[in-house]
Structures are given as C-alpha cells and as structure tokens.
C-alpha cells in the first residue's frame, strides 16, 4: 500500500455548519448551534483503489465526499490531491482539480438535465473547459465515453433524451459524463441505491472495470455494507462525523471489531431463509450532530459501554495490517 501513489490525502478534516437561529436567540446571545458533520477525519486513497465509506443517514458520508472535492467549505484540516493542497489554490488550479476529480450522484432521475440530449449532457464538461476544437472531436469523445460506460453502440443513445432511458442507462450516462475528462479520482455517492436489484451489479461491474482499466481511485459512498464489500479494497465505517473502523474489505466483513460495525453487519439482509438470526438491531437513531456525546460518540447506542466510554474518546488502535478501530473495548480484546 505504501509504495502506491496517493491520489487523495485527507488530514484531520473538519466540516461544520452553523444553524441559523432566530433574531431573539441572537438577541439573548443563546449558545450557537453548530453541526459537526465531519469531525476530524484522516484518510488516504491510492491510485487504482476503491475505498468505501459506509454509515447511516446523517453520519456525514456525503459531506466528507463533497469536502474532498472542494464542493463545500472546510472548517479545518486539509485535503491533498497528489500531494498538493487543494483548498486555497488559485482559480486555474482549482479548475484543473475539478477536471481530475469528479462526482457521480445518487439519483440519475435528477442528475441529468431532462431537456438536454445525451450528447449535450456528456460533452458539457469538455465545453465548459474549452477542450474542444471541432464538432467531430466532440462526437468522437462522447462516443468513447458512452461506450466506456457500457452504452454501446453509442450512436443509439447520442441524440436521445433522459426520459427515453431506464434508470440503469441514465446512471451510465452520468458515469460517461464523469469520465469524459479522464479524471484520476471519482466520488460515487450511493450510485446504485435508486436502481433495481437486477441492474445494480451491472453498474458495480462498470465501476470495477473503470478502476482496473484507467487505474482510477474511487470513494464509494453507501449505506449498504454488502455492496461496499463487493467492490472495494478498503471499507471505512463512519459514525457521527468520524471513522470508527477502517480496514481491508474482507477483514471488515469477517473480522470486524467495533460494536457498531458488528451491529451493521448483523442486520444486513442476506438472500437466505434465516429465522431467529442473532440480529443486533440498534435502538433509536444517530444522535443530534449538534450535541455529540462525550467520550465515545457511539456510547448512547452501545450495549457494552462502560465508564471509560463516557469520559474518554477512543483513538485508533491497529488490529492488524491496515485494520484500525477506535473503540476502548475492541482494543482490550487484543
């Protein structure tokens, strides 16, 4: 892992949002409410690697993805792209970064312009960046991107509108748009959660192909642990703004240590008959991110929580190579 090229390096990243309060609240100088969406995350993503970010709604997965792409302001910490800082770069460099780091969104029913033909949608990044000389080049590049995304022959799709395509085909169009500038890094935010089960695997296979053929790095955001296991090299489990466990995909599934990962794993639906399965369904929901619990942030829902968990925030402990967990109890098991 060390000798591979680091594409993205996140260092102690924090993203906070202030909640707008009423005039009266301000008048009486009540305490400002701050949402700590991302609360101190460090993460490296290497060339040709898929890292999955798994967690419930409200854990800060999407915010982290957007912060890495510089689509949302960072409160503290830094993001390095190929070793260079992204945050305060000048406009030209930011533009170059935007070409090389792309995003695929969750809902292909909303992310495509319903009034643009497929060729216009896919070729738009080329135009925005003034990378085109001739109309022939525009078509040629679009065809290549569409076929690279599994829409072949591309001529059948170029002059159609999104409403004529199925969900899976739309997501492929969105992917074509994201690879047309030949990026190094893509954030895929729940790219298959809106799709039917029968077409999901097709999209996942496509992402794997892109990774292998172009040596692309991916941050794959999902709430589905089994999907992340299928396609990623490493899995990071996120809870309330922090990564609580990270390691190689197989290691996380077969040998996870954090009680939260274990709970997530125990409730994953599996295509088998399984009565009386030992499921650990957690009570309630993720706590309010304006009031993160003291000590371990998972202590309000953890059945093993004891004194230390309420007072001291657990740090990462290495379980094995590349497998780290932030839990007082898991560390003790060693």
């Amino acid at each position: 892992m060390e000798n591979k090229n680091k594409i993205i390096s996140v260092k102690d990243l924090k993203v906070q949002f202030q909640i707008k309060q009423s005039f009266l609240h301000e008048l009486f100088a009540k305490k400002q409410k701050i949402v700590k969406a991302v609360d101190g995350i460090s993460l490296d993503i290497h060339q040709g690697e898929i890292v999955s970010l798994v967690g419930e709604s409200g854990s800060g997965k999407t915010t982290l993805g957007k912060a890495i792409l510089n689509l949302t302001p960072i409160t503290s910490g830094e993001v390095l792209f190929k070793g260079k800082k992204v945050e305060h770069t000048n406009k030209r460099e930011l533009k170059r970064f935007r070409q090389k780091a792309q995003m695929i969104f969750q809902d292909p029913y909303q992310s495509l312009d319903p009034k643009s033909m497929i060729i216009d949608t896919v070729a738009e990044p080329l135009e925005v960046n003034n990378l085109l000389k001739t109309a022939a080049e525009r078509k040629e590049k679009t065809v290549k991107a569409l076929e690279g995304s599994g829409l072949a022959p591309a001529e059948n799709y170029l002059y159609r509108y999104p409403y004529e395509l199925s969900g899976g085909q739309r997501q492929r169009v969105a992917i074509a748009g994201s690879i047309i500038l030949d990026p190094d890094f893509i954030v895929a935010d729940e790219p298959v959660s809106m799709l039917d089960v029968s077409v999901r695997t097709g999209i996942l296979k496509l992402l794997l192909e892109l990774k292998n053929a172009r040596n692309l790095a991916f941050l794959f955001i999902t709430h589905d642990l089994s999907l992340s296991w299928l396609i990623s090299d490493r899995i990071a489990i996120m809870y309330l703004g922090k990564i609580v466990e990270i390691g190689p995909a197989d290691e996380i599934i077969k040998n996870c240590r954090h009680p939260y990962t274990r709970a997530l794993l125990s409730i994953m639906p599996i295509p088998e008959v399984h009565r009386n399965r030992n499921r650990q369904v957690l009570k309630g929901e993720i706590p309010d991110p304006t009031e993160i619990p003291r000590g371990c942030r998972f202590n309000t829902r953890c059945e093993f929580a004891h004194d230390r968990c309420y007072n001291e925030e657990p740090q990462f402990t290495a379980i094995s190579d590349n497998h780290d967990v932030a839990c007082h109890l898991a560390a003790k098991e060693q």
Binding site: D196, V197, D224, S226, L230, L264, P271, E272, V273, R279
Partner: protein, 322 residues
C-alpha cells in the same frame, strides 16, 4: 376460510398507446396472521395488484375479470359505498415514501384521528386517545402526537404511517415498499416492528418489495411476479432453497451474500418487457438463458411442485441441473 383469496385477477390500464396488461391472471391466497411477500422488478404489477384489492386504481385502470375474496366477500363486485366500508376498516395500506404520504401542515395525531373518525363511529377526542395508544404500539412517544411531520425523522414517519394503517384494527395490511427509502438500520427496525405487530394482532400482511433479501426473515410465503404474472409461489424455503423458475433463481443470485465467498452477483440481462405487447409464449423467454423452442410459442401453465409450491416454466428447475 382464507382471509384473502384472489382468483385470476386481471387489471388493465387503457392509455393512448394501447392496453397495458399490468396484472394478467394473478391468483393468491393469504390466511389470518400470515405474511406474503410479493416480489419483482419495477413495473411488474406488484403495486397494481395491491391497489386492485383496495380498489384504489387510477382512472385509467380497471379490473377486467377475476375475483378478490376477503373473508368470502367479493370486493370486485362491491359498489363504491360498500368498498369504502372495507377500506381501512378491513384492509389498510402502508405507502412507499412515508416522507411524502403525510400532510406537512397538519399534526400527525390529528391525521391519524381524522382517519379513525372517517371510518369508524368515534368522536375526535376518542380518536386522538386511540392515536396515542397506537403511537405506543409502534414504539413512538405518545405525547408526540401533537408534532408535525417535519419534526419526525424518516423512520419515525414510517412508524406513524404504520400506526395510521393499524388505526381501525384491519385484518389485512398491505405494505408497498415500506422500507425502500429508509436506512439499513431503520429498515431492520421497521421490519422487526411489522413482524411483531402481525403476531400480536393476528393480521394478514402483504409485503411488496423488489428486495427479495429482506423477505427471508419476515415472510411465510413469497410470490414472485414477472411482467404481470406470478411465475413462482411457495413458502419461504421453497423459494429460497428449492426454486424452480429461472427468474426466481436469477433474482436471488443478484444479491451478494456476506456469509459466502466474495463474488460479484450476476445481473439479469435485458429489461422487463413492454406490457402493451408482451412477448408470446413465456414472458421471461427473451431474458432466459435456458430458453428453448417451446418457450417462445407456448405459455407455460402453473405446475404444482409440492403442496403450496407452484411455478410456471416449461423447464422447471433447469437451473439446478434437473
């Protein structure tokens, strides 16, 4: 007597392009306290089947033939007034996307009470009291009946929708993708809740979903739908372990299984057919890897494999090497 028996139901939609045969000859049975999973891809007619039971079809849709017997009474022949008495009192529904199903400018308790007042002889005050009890039943704090929907999370809204579905003590509850828009942990909570309520209240439950993997622990029986028809039905073990239809098999193998080896599941090639002009013969044949001549011309009949286990395929069990 069965709680619900559907015989040869056909529900068609008349649109400008032609007649959409959304539900084409579907038969089902369900007993008291039993749960049935109705599973299939988008557009296979699952929701239309459910809407036919409650007679909530849009204007273009109509039941062409068949019977829907609820405790022996045929709902298809009932007048609007008669069916109104059945709706919500005997058969209620939990809709997909609870986020949009609640009125945003009305207190949740009032919405539930309104439902009760409309369908049962009850004063508003009594109905509100009942709403509090229902909240307790679905593990929500009773005092929160005076909250508005925006004060609830997605999971809590879905619990409130379930409370509303239970408001008039129905014998049959239909859940149309009740967990699809929810998080994995909340999904597990809601499925547990439905399982518990079904046993406590001895009601029939039909769970409509495209996610076969959630049915393994929540249902007694499963019916697999494809292009308006049921292609295989049986108890959970039949469907998961002894399935006979290639479509059932394909659907099952499109899920990853974290307890097995890490392999990419197979996708089902192609897309479901157009229901205005469905393919002749077996409707699955254009996507079926085992398709032979007869599949293209002759529609397979339902074959009984064992008691309660039926399938419609000329080559029953071909994917298992049989």
């Amino acid at each position: 007597m069965e709680l619900l028996q559907i015989n040869n139901l056909k529900t068609y939609f008349e649109i400008s392009a032609g007649t959409v045969k959304a539900v084409d000859d579907v038969s089902l049975t369900l007993n008291y306290g039993e749960s049935l999973g109705l599973v299939g891809e988008s557009g296979c007619g699952k929701t239309t089947t459910a809407l036919s039971i409650n007679n909530l079809l849009p204007d273009e849709g109509r039941i062409v033939s068949g019977e829907i017997l609820l405790e022996g009474k045929n709902l298809v022949e009932m007048s609007d007034r008669e069916i109104k008495k059945i709706r919500w009192n005997d058969v209620s529904m939990i809709f997909q996307g609870a986020m949009n199903a609640l009125n945003p400018v009305m207190k949740i308790g009032d919405q539930i009470a309104e439902t009760i007042v409309l369908h049962q002889k009850s004063s508003f005050r009594e109905a509100l009291k009942k709403a509090e009890e229902l909240f307790a039943l679905v593990d929500l704090e009773p005092k929160r009946i005076s909250n508005y929907p925006h004060e609830f999370s997605g999971g809590m809204k879905q619990r409130a929708m379930i409370a509303m579905a239970l408001a008039c003590n129905p014998k049959l509850v239909i859940g149309d993708e009740p967990t699809t828009a929810l998080d994995v942990m909340v999904q597990a909570q809601i499925l547990n809740l439905l399982y518990r309520l079904r046993q406590e209240l001895n009601m029939g439950l039909i769970l409509i979903t495209h996610d076969l993997s959630i049915l393994g622990e929540t249902c007694d029986k499963i019916a697999v739908m494809y292009a308006g028809k049921i292609v295989e039905s049986g108890d959970v073990e039949d469907i998961f372990n002894r399935n006979k239809h290639p479509y059932t098999h394909k659907l099952l193998s499109s899920f990853p299984n974290i307890h097995r080896e890490r392999i990419m599941p197979e996708a089902i090639e192609g897309i479901p057919p157009d229901l205005i002009n469905p393919p002749p013969g077996c409707r699955f044949h254009p996507r079926c890897p085992y398709c032979i001549e007869i599949c293209r011309s002759e529609e397979p009949a339902m074959t009984m494999e064992s008691k309660g286990h039926y399938y419609a395929c000329h080559l029953g069990g071909v994917h298992n090497g049989k």
